[in-house]
């Protein structure tokens, strides 16, 4: 099956998943005890303003009708208005999503550097000193929470040595770039540990495999054996894992953006939850669902390209 047909098929399969998730989100919001309008406006709200808000949110309608209104909103990209910012949710998300995407891209870049190189070195030198060091560092990276790493980096590189901003990401592209370095390194450290271990184990298995021995028996240079036989094969599972970790990074942005006070989606989500801005929360969760589904699809396609044994079907 070629990639186009496969993609089409997968997109069709996503529709029921998406439907189920929208129902879940709808029900979750409704399952919160108490009157959403009351929660949103606080205890001092007047009956008039409560009634107005209920009317605006459509809370006076039946659940069935509410669901259809909500669903119609999603498919027409009308996710409602934010109560706090008084702007449409879609506008709000679009203005913030760039930061999160930039953060994820830079985090991926650092993750590749932090995981592929040490993972390969550790695997090639199995049980020797470089391997022990890399494994120890990976273990530490695995056991330390990312917000703590972020705070430590902030204290060292923004407070003591003032080379990075303490919070925010400035106004110019260069300031954006500088502002994203510490957050992306933090993200990368949190994700790399798993990838290092994965790659190391792949390299250990592959360097003792028959096909590497066979390649050696052909008199190929050690460099070519590394690149074409060991690295090429070892990276297949690791790359798959990396693309799944993209999802984790997207989710991790909730923590990181708050530690570094970046104006991204994660930051918006947390603020909206505090502010009981349910339309925004709802919109962001729907967007996350779409992102996760798209990344999963891309992962499967990339996997099939990297490994010819994997058939798309």
């Amino acid at each position: 099956m070629d990639v186009f047909n496969y993609t089409l098929k997968r997109i069709l399969q996503m529709i029921p998943v998406f439907l189920i998730v929208t129902v879940l989100i709808f029900l979750l919001i409704r399952a919160i005890p108490g009157d959403p309008a009351m929660v949103m406006l606080g205890e001092k709200a007047t009956p008039e303003s409560l009634a107005a808000l209920r009317e605006k949110l459509g809370l006076n309608e039946s659940y069935i009708k509410q669901f259809f209104l909500y669903f119609k909103g999603i498919v027409t990209f009308d996710l409602g208005d934010s109560i706090k910012f008084n702007t449409p949710v879609s506008t709000l998300i679009f203005s913030r999503v760039g930061t999160t995407i930039c953060l994820t891209i830079m985090s991926t870049f650092f993750t590749v550097i932090f995981s592929f190189i040490p993972g390969y070195i550790a695997g090639i030198n199995k049980d020797k000193i470089p391997d022990q060091i890399v494994r120890l560092i990976a273990l530490i990276g695995l056991s330390v929470p990312s917000f703590w790493i972020g705070l430590v980096l902030l204290i060292i590189f923004a407070v003591n040595i003032k080379i990075f901003p303490v919070a925010g990401w400035g106004n110019t592209p260069w300031e954006h770039f500088v502002g994203l370095i510490l957050p992306s390194i933090t993200q990368a450290i949190a994700v790399s540990a798993v990838l290092i271990r994965n790659l190391r184990n792949n390299v250990v298995d592959i360097k003792n495999s028959d096909y590497v021995d066979f390649a050696r028996s052909k008199g190929i240079s050690p460099l070519r054996i590394s690149t074409h036989h060991i690295i090429r094969n070892a990276l297949i599972p690791t790359t798959t894992l990396l693309s799944l970790k993209l999802i984790a990074m997207f989710g991790g942005s909730i923590v990181i953006e708050n530690v570094f006070n970046l104006p991204g989606i994660g930051n918006l989500l947390v603020n909206s939850i505090y502010a009981r801005d349910y339309a925004v929360v709802q919109g962001i969760v729907v967007m996350f669902v779409v992102v996760v589904m798209v990344i999963n699809l891309l992962t499967d396609i990339i996997y099939s390209i990297l490994d010819p044994r994997v058939k798309l079907s």
Partner: protein, 343 residues
């Protein structure tokens, strides 16, 4: 002296007193002990023995393809007169593939699963001045030689797209593309079913003649030995216990272990008799007995065998045995009988 020179020219490979040791968890495993043999041009030489007897290790040592924890404390491996053990990595790489090629037991794991057959054949041409067209022609020629139908198409495929027998053919083609003078075939038929086994044996025999190669064959199957080899070495616990030409070995085995192996073969003549296994198990390579390694399992074992390791002794021209009491088997019959006068 003149005789010496002729002998040297005749031998493509000469291995003298080769020893291989493995080290794991602080223990020393004596995997190969004092192995000496030579392979002449155009000859097929076989190693036969049980798993773990050192036959694969010996063959891998020939192109220094041993595991990291292996050491070769003693011995020399002369290929056309140059000692492979003393070569630099760069010079060794020039011998690997181009001079000595190797095929493995399991083609599915020995060929890289994510590279096309074409790419893996082309790797044999690195460093040559061949153009892409010449490379392709040569690769197609090789696939055709080993009997892979529609080679142009199959060249672009991956190993998992081949069937069992075709996989082994693809690996043989990959190895032969570099035109090696010596082919090391490590259990080339073990992973295949019997009919395919037969095809591959015939194929290797045919190609060997066509290309004028020598073959070092490793197998645990005496049947394969009888179909392919000119001369055989029987290995046990890292030692050669008997070497002879194939006919002599089958007709007049003089080591109790060889005799045991031959007797253990199922026979159509002895319909009602059950199989005759060799009792006991092989000794641990970390704790080889002081005397004869086969002693503990040998029906003829005496005190001398327990205390003293027998030397390889030439009992007749080209027939060497490592046994104190090989004369006891002088009149023993093997699998086949050949007409011959008294010795």
């Amino acid at each position: 002296m003149a005789k010496e020179i002729i002998k040297d020219n005749d031998n493509l490979l000469e291995v003298n007193n080769l020893n291989v040791r493995f080290y794991s968890n602080g223990r020393e495993m004596k995997a190969v002990n004092g192995v000496t043999f030579n392979i002449k041009k155009g000859e097929t030489f076989g190693f036969v023995g049980e798993s773990g007897c050192g036959k694969s290790t010996t063959s891998r040592a020939v192109i220094r393809l041993l595991a990291e924890n292996a050491k070769v404390p003693e011995g020399e491996i002369l290929y056309n007169g140059t000692d492979i053990l003393k070569l630099s990595q760069d010079k060794l790489r020039k011998i690997r593939g181009k001079e000595i090629g190797m095929i493995f037991q399991e083609p599915m794991t020995a060929l890289n699963p994510v590279l096309t057959i074409k790419k893996q054949v082309y790797e044999q041409f690195i460093g040559t001045s061949m153009t892409n067209k010449e490379k392709e022609e040569r690769a197609i020629e090789m696939l055709r030689l080993v009997g892979i139908p529609s080679p142009e198409k199959r060249l672009k495929e991956y190993i998992h797209q081949f069937s069992g027998g075709m996989r082994q053919r693809a690996m043989i083609a990959t190895t032969l593309a570099a035109n090696p003078k010596l082919l090391i075939a490590d259990e080339p038929t073990t992973a295949l079913d019997v009919t395919i086994q037969d095809q591959i044996i015939k194929l290797i025999n045919k190609i060997k003649k066509q290309m004028g190669m020598s073959v070092l064959l490793i197998t645990h199957d005496l049947g394969v030995i009888s179909q392919m080899c000119d001369r055989v070495a029987v290995m046990y616990a890292g030692y050669f216990v008997e070497t002879a030409d194939t006919l002599t070995l089958f007709a007049k085995p003089r080591h109790p272990y060889t005799k045991g192996l031959i007797d253990a073969l199922p026979s159509t003549e002895k319909k009602n008799s059950s199989l005759m296994p060799i009792k006991g198990t092989t000794p641990s390579l970390a704790e080889l007995p002081k005397g004869c390694p086969f002693g503990p399992r040998c029906p003829y074992c005496e005190d001398k065998c327990v205390n003293e390791l027998p030397e390889m002794t030439e009992i007749e021209s080209g027939h060497m045995v490592r046994c104190h009491f090989s004369y006891k088997l002088k009149n023993a019959s093997g699998l086949i009988s050949i007409e011959e006068g008294e010795q």
